[in-house]
């Protein structure tokens, strides 16, 4: 069947059986490989995307149920070269290591903070319990998200409109995956 949906703000039309996993459509048809597969059964959260703002495991979403919906993936959290305050905090605080769970955490935390901007650390742990990470022990992930909670609260108290000025993504001269091509060092 042909299915029309909106992915990261752009209308897309994709083809496939109704039970085809949204995860596969994103990765294979739309080349949005930022969404990862860790378990294929809704346990690890690496494939988390937002559908109409709600975090879901895209490995469990049949394509037909994405019809007419707005899907947002990790590629569209930041606009252009800018990172969101949450992404920036995850990098700076050490909340990403191997990075395979990071897209899911960034997406889920984005939704969780929108819903519960005042969540404390324990609640943040509960909100992120659907995103398994094997590298960090979660400590620096929670540090990063809790820092965003605090900074946004400060910004709100101060009456400022955007919580944190998004900063330019640091260029990474280090290893880039094959296919990305290695990026030259900044001058």
């Amino acid at each position: 069947m042909k299915v029309s949906l909106v992915v990261n703000g752009a209308p897309r039309e994709v083809e496939g059986g109704p039970l085809r996993r949204l995860l596969d459509v994103l990765r294979e048809d739309l080349a949005l490989t930022g969404t990862k597969e860790g378990c294929g059964e809704g346990e690890c959260g690496a494939c988390t995307v937002l559908i109409d703002g709600e975090p879901v495991n895209s490995c469990l979403v049949p394509l037909a149920q994405a019809a007419g919906r707005e899907v947002r993936t990790v590629e569209a959290l930041a606009s252009g070269e800018l990172l969101t305050d949450l992404q920036e905090a995850l990098v700076r605080c050490g909340g990403t290591q191997c990075g395979i769970c990071t897209p899911g955490i960034a997406v889920c935390a984005t939704a969780a903070l929108a819903r519960e901007p005042g969540a404390d650390r324990l609640r943040l742990r509960e909100l992120l319990a659907g995103n398994l990470c094997r590298c960090t022990g979660y400590q620096l992930v929670i540090d990063a998200v809790a820092e965003v909670v605090a900074r946004r609260a400060d910004a709100t108290d101060a009456g400022a409109a955007p919580p944190l000025p998004a900063r330019t993504a640091p260029t990474a001269p280090g290893q880039a995956g094959p296919g990305v091509g290695s990026r030259g060092a900044a001058p």
């Binding site: 109704p18 039970l19 996993r21 809704g42 889920c108 609640r123 659907g130």
Partner: protein, 310 residues
Amino acid sequence: MSGATPTRTPAPAWLRPATLADALAARAAHPDWLVVAGGTDVMVGSTRRPEPPGVLDLFGLAELSAITEGPDGLCVGAGATYAALLRHPTVRDRFPCLHEAAREVGALQIQARGTLGGNVQTSSPVGDTLPPLLALDAEVEVASAARGPRRVPYAAWITSYRKTALATDELLVAVHLPWPAPGTRQRWRKVGTRKAQAISKVMLAATARLEGDGPGRPGTIAHARVALGAVADRPVRLPTVEALLVGASPDPALAERVREAVRAAITPITDVRSTADYRREVAANLVARFVLDLAAPALPGADPGAGGAP
């Protein structure tokens, strides 16, 4: 090596009815189609199973998603998600054991998609919301195009392991929860392989109402329901334990008698998640703890006991 395209079976048909009537008609016409709601169960391992001839998609169908209050109780549409249950203040205030079960069933991602109806339909022995339905005297409403709606007490819903009273032309429509009498205490306790996002080893849902209680006086138990999950081929109520409770005063002696009665009432199994021994002892301890806590002043909400939700 040829580059021929692989042989593919034709994609299954897909139907997303706009009304319950349309859904029932489709169900009658295609009893062999897969019924899908949030997909958190049926999509697991979907790539390795043969595809069904067709799919009946009920997710988001308005008539199935509502949570409505009536004079006799609360009607939860089969398509209501755990997230919807969690957001509903009446569920939180009047049915805290169901609220807590919905909270612990899985993380945000599962809460957003999983439905109460899905849990009821799958009827797994480890379905988290099922013991609360027993403890709350829930009724299941099903309907067919030919015969219209009918209600089944939840206690009679499961007929054998993962099998239910649903006919092949019927759909699950709603779960009805009668209003608990004022003062009814509720308990939800899930013991899983870990605290969060875990399949259960033992679950307890229990309700009790005391009469004649007051400061320094526990009173006697006027009404009790004790339901366990993951200790049998389906969630079970323990009538022998309930009989012990009603008319008795919650004290340590009663708790000990109850502990013995629970041990005698269940024959759990050993599987990949736990052992028969452990399940029996822990089930007995959880019920005994519930009885002991009844002697203490009532707390608001479903006091989850030690080790409850964080």
